[in-house]
Symmetry: C2
Subunit: 890 residues, 2 copies
């Protein structure tokens, strides 16, 4: 049987969104549910892939099927493409499997030409509408299909408007549009080297190809990378008969969310514009009305809309984001999809939908994306602050941020790459600005509403955004904005509060967020579902306390070197490192011991018996020492200016000592357990501090469960010797205090050799903790410090690597080592405890991977703990779903 590349909206066969794309599948679903949907058909994602395989060429089969489907559409609507009596106009829209708002191209009003425009003018008795629609079509076609610069048209329009003395397009007459149409056709011919096609079939096929092409435009590629959408999925194309929201004041267009996407409140939420086409709302060019105004203006229509919205939400078991158009008083649905929402909203919706018995607890867990949750734990503006706000806009995406004002996406990216915090301020944003929104801490626009591009994108990213802030006057040329008399120059610091829409001059104090009750409830369900432990990486009692509050079961990584870094202790640390005799070194170590002991005591007291993995000193010693280059410069200067000074002698001596510790590749040098092997007195001090602290805390009646971790092992003999030292000290201190100390010893698996010989290493270990940061460095041979600046960014942009492997666990390479490390390790030691403590420990995909490979826990930074708890629950649910679908195929 011939492959089916096209499906009518009311097709009978069950076809999924993998074929039809999200939009196409939902249009078919709404049609099936009996909602008023303008008729049309979907060209499948398979047609898109076939198109690319054939070298960007529509196959004959697809072409024939499209023509046949068009005939059915003409039959059903009683209109015909290009017909001068009853002309059919259609929209051509992209529709990928995953929603990619605004990233791909759309063509509206297709079918318009010099003949049909007249027919429409006659049929609608509205020539102004007809010619406006035609000029819009030419402009869109030139931009999207022929790839022309939209400003060619916009500049002409602007000039025409000004020279005619108009202030708004509303003042244009049909005659004006006619003149503009002629000019647009000329512009098109000159810029494209071809005429604007009058043949509607040519228009149609060129447009379908253009939408397919837009799957691989720069914006779409970036968006897919940001949202982990694979490139092989392709996009479908929806061809649908047009309805017009711009036919007069009984027409309009709008967007409705079935619940509030910002707060999660159960209410119809959205905006509409009278006498406008849908693109006007989404593009944020005109500021629309809140949807509850519609209740007053068109009560019947509003109640019909409400009914349909509830129907859709119940059907999809999820909050819906719906596009509708009113044409001469009749309601049409153009799209429905799962609505994007803030984390706060997502959590509230999930919990309330359980309470309303729309979804089960487990279904609710899948309604929240773990990646969003950290938003809820972001700082807020301190409500006690006394600063006067500068201005208020629409609170489009919550969160507080402070940064320098920039007016351009490229510049935002540039400064952000230099490590500066920036706030992007734009009249409005377009998909071309997406890299600036990514780079900025927050985005502010003077135009556009809650569903404008900037708002949707920022909410998806969990970044603060304020929209439609009309009181600010942006002067892009001179790089400033004004609010009444206040002038804010590029580079000035402002603070924005995305939750209130308030903007302040300068920096404002922020406070820690509180966990809401619904959030706690959701995470409780998550913990009931999950079997994977969640610990935290925390080095201070403060971090430990925070993490426990956020639900950490214990500490998966406590880095003892961070305790050495503060300015009070550094002198003793330096003395210890630079000691020229064992005696001198021991003296310095004796000074550090009580400090480290106190740190451990406070952490143990905070944890009250929860397990804590304590990693002995790991970084190269010279990290604690003065910089060689600075010393060299000082010495050179002193040699010339004060050659006899004591200072010079001191610095020369210091330089010699520091030089002895210099390394060409410190990442692979004398660090980790190698330090402990060569200078066992350092580890011995740490272990002594640990067990003395343990003894003290146990004596207070508080349980302590330390897991002592030897870092950077690559051969079992290293672990054997260092564990021996631990046991020796434990015996001594336990003996002295007449108690037996319970603890585990284990190692961080962070070199490939450790993973490859895990069967040997586990014979000496109670636990493994996979240090996937370092393991990624050694497995790829990438130094993170160097790679990210020098080539990794290029690799990702170029598509060489799908992701930054330091952010997303490389399951193919590094993951293989984790997998074999776990299975080899358990082969020799079935009781082996396994966890992961790299930065990946907080990433949902890595968590899924760890669950699948049988690890016991993940460990991540305190603020990632709630996300990890949810992701751990989802991993269990997804795996259950997969097992089911394997057991019950179909």
């Amino acid at each position: 049987m011939e492959q089916k590349f096209v499906f009518m909206f009311d097709h009978e066969k069950a076809v999924g969104k993998e074929m039809l794309g999200g939009k196409g599948a939902n249009l078919a679903e709404m049609t099936r549910l009996g909602l008023p949907v303008p008729y049309g058909f979907t060209v499948t994602t398979e047609a898109c892939n076939a198109y690319y395989e054939a070298g960007e060429q529509l196959s004959e089969a697809a072409t024939i099927q499209i023509k046949k489907s068009l005939e059915k559409l003409e039959e059903r609507t009683g209109k015909t493409l290009g017909d001068t009596n009853s002309p059919l106009l259609v929209s051509v829209r992209s529709g990928a499997v995953h929603s990619m708002p605004g990233m791909m191209d759309t063509v509206l009003n297709l079918g318009m030409n010099d003949d049909t425009v007249k027919a429409i003018a006659d049929l609608t008795h509205n020539p102004r509408f007809a010619y406006d629609s035609y000029r819009r079509f030419i402009q869109m076609f030139g931009d999207v299909v022929l790839g022309l610069d939209n400003s060619l048209y916009e500049n002409f329009l602007e000039n025409y408007r000004t020279s005619s003395g108009y202030t708004s397009d509303v003042q244009m007459t049909a005659g004006d549009w006619k003149e503009i149409i002629e000019a647009y056709k000329k512009i098109t011919t000159e810029a494209a080297g071809r005429t604007f096609p009058q043949d509607p079939y040519e228009q149609l096929f060129l447009s379908i190809s253009a939408v397919f092409d837009s799957w691989n435009n720069k914006r779409a590629l970036l968006y897919r990378r940001l949202h982990d959408i694979p490139g092989h999925l392709g996009t479908a194309v929806n061809v649908q008969s047009m309805v017009f929201g711009n036919m007069g004041n009984d027409s309009g267009t709008g967007v409705a969310f079935t619940r509030n996407p910002s707060t999660g409140k159960s209410e119809l939420y959205g905006e509409y514009l009278i006498n406008a086409q849908g693109e006007d709302v989404v593009a944020g060019i005109r500021t629309p009305q809140p949807i509850n105004e519609l209740k007053r203006e068109m009560p019947d229509l509003y109640s019909e809309l409400m009914k349909m919205c509830n129907l859709l939400e119940n059907h999809y078991k999820n909050m819906q984001d719906i596009e509708f158009t009113v044409e001469n008083g009749a309601l049409f649905f153009l799209q429905t999809r799962n609505g994007k929402r803030t984390a706060q909203s997502a959590v509230r919706i999930a919990v309330e939908m359980v309470n309303e018995r729309i979804v089960s607890e487990e279904e609710a867990l899948l309604l929240v994306d773990p990646d969003q949750l950290s938003q809820l734990l972001h700082k807020h503006i301190d409500p006690e602050h006394t600063s006067q706000k500068l201005v208020t806009g629409l609170p489009a995406s919550p969160g507080a941020a402070t940064g320098e004002v920039v007016f351009d996406a490229d510049r935002a990216e540039l400064l952000s790459n230099e490590g500066r915090n920036v706030i992007l301020v734009r009249p409005e944003t377009t998909p071309e600005d997406i890299h600036g929104i990514v780079a900025a801490k927050a985005t502010v626009t003077s135009r556009g509403g809650m569903t404008s591009h900037a708002a949707v994108v920022a909410r998806g990213m969990g970044k603060a955004c304020i929209c439609g802030c009309g009181s600010i006057n942006i002067d892009l040329e001179s790089g400033r904005f004004t609010v009444a008399d206040t002038i804010v120059e590029e580079g000035d610091v402002i603070t924005v509060d995305g939750a209130s829409g308030d903007i302040y001059l300068g920096e404002i104090a922020t406070i820690e967020p509180e966990m809401s009750d619904v959030f706690r409830q959701l995470l409780g369900w998550a913990d009931n579902t999950s079997t994977l432990g969640v610990r935290t990486n925390a080095d201070t009692p403060e971090d430990v306390r925070k993490a426990v509050e956020l639900g950490a079961e214990g500490v998966g990584l406590c880095r003892t070197e961070h305790m050495f870094m503060n300015s009070e202790r550094l002198p003793a640390v330096q003395k210890m490192i630079l000691a020229e005799s064992e005696e001198e070194r021991n003296k310095a170590l004796n000074r550090l011991l009580p400090m480290q002991q106190q740190d451990f005591e406070r952490i143990f007291e905070t944890l009250r018996g929860r397990p804590v993995t304590i990693r002995l000193l790991d970084p190269p010693l010279h990290e604690f020492l003065p910089n060689v280059e600075e010393l060299l410069v000082d010495i050179t200067r002193l040699e010339l200016t004060e050659p006899e000074s004591v200072e010079l002698g001191r610095k020369q001596k210091l330089l010699r000592s520091v030089r002895l510790l210099e390394e060409s590749n410190p990442m692979l040098g004398l660090r980790g357990c190698r330090l402990g092997m060569v200078h066992p007195e350092i580890y011995e001090m740490q272990i002594t501090a640990l067990f003395q602290a343990m003894t003290g805390v146990l004596n207070k009646g508080i349980d302590v469960n330390p897991e002592i971790m030897i870092p950077l092992v690559s051969h079992v003999a290293e672990l054997r010797e260092m564990s021996g030292l631990v046991h020796k000290v434990a015996k001594e201190i336990g003996g002295r205090n007449g108690i037996s100390l319970n603890y585990l010893t284990g190692t961080m698996i962070e070199t490939p050799r450790a993973a490859l010989t895990a069967d040997e290493i586990s014979s000496e270990a109670d636990f493994f903790s996979f240090g996937t940061n370092d393991l990624t460095q050694t497995t790829f041979g990438f130094s993170r410090d160097d790679a990210e600046g020098k080539f990794l960014q290029y690799y990702i942009e170029n598509g060489t690597l799908p992701d930054n492997p330091f952010m997303k666990l490389d399951q193919e390479g590094v993951g293989k080592l984790v997998e074999s490390g776990v299975s080899l390790g358990k082969q020799t030691n079935p009781q082996l405890k396994t966890g992961i403590c790299g930065e990946h420990g907080g990433d949902k995909d890595a968590i899924r991977f760890c669950f699948d490979k049988g690890l016991d826990y993940v460990s991540c930074s305190p603020f990632r703990v709630p996300a990890a708890r949810l992701a751990a629950a989802q991993a269990a649910l997804y795996s259950r779903q997969e097992r089911k679908s394997v057991l019950q195929p179909g």
Copy 2:
């Protein structure tokens, strides 16, 4: 049945040397062959292992068996331990599976006590001999068994000698020895806190335990590590009735080699001492006579010795190293073993034994250790040189070496670790000096002969050695030696020629060696046997020519960056790297292109169609640039002295450019194919040069077979993109010249990720070359530059690692990646060619590993090629032997 821990020398059951040790097995074998061997028995290696398992305790079973065996020995000899009529004296000697000359302990004259000494004085009518033997026994027992410092005895003896006005021990009378014996017993009691045991049984069991203990002494541990001998083998102990070479002038002791161990000539070779015990020869304290003197002195005995030596050589099918003793005119054999020999000797013996039909060609191949062969290719002293030699000693081990004089093994090691060449000069060496011999380029002794400790050890290591150089007068105190009027201070440079025994002041020119005909013949047999290819790592036409002469089948690694390093080209390279525009960079690249093209042309012409693996640019670019620290110092100085100078501005600009390329871990930074990805113009220049050179050489009618290697790939996409560049350039240049260029593209597998994803990578590769140097660095997480200086040495001395993994392939870890790299790679691409090109490529164990894992070739430095060819043949032979022994058990 009870485990058998002891075997008499004439036991009937076939027991191998795994149980009896080499010495014990050979004593039994000689006994069986009918040679005159003093009777005795062997305590097995299993008894040694049981001894260690029981916490250094002899089992009851072993004790009983030893007593029973002693009874048999007494019965056969008609003598009884401790008996005052016919006292039995025995030796107790170690004997491990692998010969470890001088590393473990020996006790002679056991059975002597205050009573038996009198009996022996009477029986031999030689009281001086009896009391000298007794004092030797007390001294040896104190040193070896009780662990006392030998100098306690030696100092006393020295004082006694001086105060008696004697110049040599020969002047001592029986009365003197009696006095000394009383003093020695007192010294023993005071130092050991126990009396010297008079009970011969106590003497025996304490001595056996002491020999077992010596298996794990420091010297033995180091020797085992150096020679890859596993620690679990244990040592056997041989208890044998004593014969005495020091009974007068019709007695003596000697060492005979069945062929010349230095040249390989078929002649009885060796030394003997009249009226001496065996230890006197081995320890090198007295300088012995050449063995052909014996022919004159004792012609009958000499001819009996000759006959027996031939018998042993034919029996063992190998050159033998034999210890004999003559007691009152009767010949006794105390030991035979395969003789250590120089490489030159080994090759000649192997080939001549085939000619003499003693061994087959294949057996001959196994008679030569590949590790030795590079000696044959070492430089010799230029015979044309005109320098006057300082002095001549015995040519104990061939090879020429130049270095600073040091007089102490510790100091030799210290300076050598600093990268300095040293020559160790000692009166004599003892096993305690072994680390100094390892560290030095050559060893010179003023005492001792060709079979002295220094000579045996140096020959085994292939290091130059001159012994018995009596004309040099060593003053250890003041750190100098004198030869007549010439004073040589510590630190002065000398040159030694181990082949002639000549020593020169200062540095002498050396020349390349020639390959002998026997060497060629042996390697011809090796090539017939081997199936593993041997290529070479060579970057210049000169190296390529040398390697081809030495039998390389092609080039396995040609590093193109070495072509960039010479001073003529460096300015263009620096311009290329620091270019601020693409245009500037291309200009610099265009200057480099013809140079690189010429390099390739010359290499292709030399190879005449042999394959050559060319690796594109690999090291980080800043390796070609000025040093940042030097620039900083210059700038600081100029800022203070010439703040307005042009030079300052230039250096500041240069510093900024160099800084941009700085990396914290350059080994893991922007290098290898990452350079090619980010700066494709560099690789494009190299590829263009390569294909233009190829075209030119093909046009001369010379075949060219390049294999283009993309370095440091960690993801298949890197290889795909860079191979694409190769194909593009090949097509262009081929097209322009109207020919189709044949070449392969492939990659170096040198990151763990490449090995782990070899199945993906091989889909884009014609070949893999395992870069085990870098693969070892990333697998262990060791930077070689840092590790070797900072902790690796410690790890090896401490026993943490069995070997330096940069010298010996780590089969457990790195080897796993090689193995899975090959099998995954061939899974996707069965035609995949595989090789190894790290430094391990020349190591025999790594070659065996590569053969077993199915690699196609190894590649090593030109001078390692002959060794690799032999090792490849041996790998095939060993594997055939193993297969046979699996197929025909027993």
